[in-house]
Amino acid sequence: MGHTLLFYLMICAYPACSRMEVTVDGKKTKATSAATVAELISSLSLNGEEVLVKVNGKLAPNGMKIAASDEIKVMRVIFGG
């Protein structure tokens, strides 16, 4: 019984654990949980050459480790015009 409950809780909790909230061009969205900035850019199907990422208000390099609790903003900065 205990094992079944634990398994059930894990299944229910999995989607929440595997998603993280990020802001892309001012719009909030859910992204697949990523360990680093580079992984996040990849999971959002963005080109790293066209974006800058701010973590907790500061520009972040690709290798920076991130957590779901971080405030993450992705800015598309390469435009035509």
Partner: protein, 364 residues
Amino acid sequence: MPASPIPKRGKQPTAMQYAASSGASAPLSPQLLRSCGSSSTCTKCGKPAAITLPYANQSLCQSDFVKMFESRVLRTVREFRMLKKGDVVAVGVSGGKDSCVMLHLLHKISKSLPIKLFAITIDEGIAGYRNKSLEVAKAECKKLGIPLKVVSFHKEFGKTLDKLLKERGEKLSCSFCGVMRRYALNKIARKEGATKLAIGHNSDDVAQTVMMNLMRNEPERLARFAPVSDASPSRVREGGASGQAWDAKQGAFIPRIKPLFLTPERDVAAYAVMKGIEIEFMECPYARHAFRQHVRAMLNDAEQKYPGTKLKIVKAFLSQSELMQEGAKHRLKSGKTVQIGVCKSCGEATSQKICSLCTLLKRS
């Protein structure tokens, strides 16, 4: 003979040696490529990094990035002899990141080199886009104490771009806008007494222009393309002032300088963010129609897979530009190439009998 914008090899470091000094042309082995972006500490000082530069295989902290960025622009200006004491520089400021960053850097340069700056903003009349960036341009100029001249398509040509494109179709947007904007910038710069016109073209723009000229089979146009646009021999009138570039034909064409010629677009954006230059990252609503947009996407895709691709295109172009200019000069002697003259219709600078603007407007 006009002075070449590209110094002779061996006398001064070349532009790409500068790029290399920032790591831009460092060889990228598969191991290095795999490690690109894996560091979260500054390659130079070991402090927490603020940005990864895959083209240079580096991560830099804010302080080292700003230093590298500013010194690269300064060296570009020196390398191509873009400015001299006493210059009156008209700065084309759209309110976008490139022009605003360039304005800040030229303002910084003006503190050590006696030059006068003023800004020109062209209001093409693009609803919901230009009015926002116009506010940014005004705010940045006010912040730096640089006089700003706003010129509208409506006032200059009698029509906004929106109106013109309603009549002619949106697919021609960039053809119209580019020609009209260059025309207006040159005309106003000249009227205001400018000796140079600074344009915020970055190295991404350069790589795109090179590729577009190749893809369109326009070698003549490519030969004329340079960090300082008046210095190409193909643009010099035969028998013009001794050793001088096109300013022999004073009053028509204001030499254009591109201080961000060797600076990647993403770096410009990062610098703007770091320096707190308040820019809205916005796309022109007509950009989707542009051929450049496809080339940009293609090059950014290649850059992501093979970091350094765009700067390598710029490097290849610069290494061949002397040869292309020689070829253009040869064709000039044999009368097979165009020279800059004055439009028979409007009196503005052109390489044809009738300038592109008059041709476009006549067609409309």
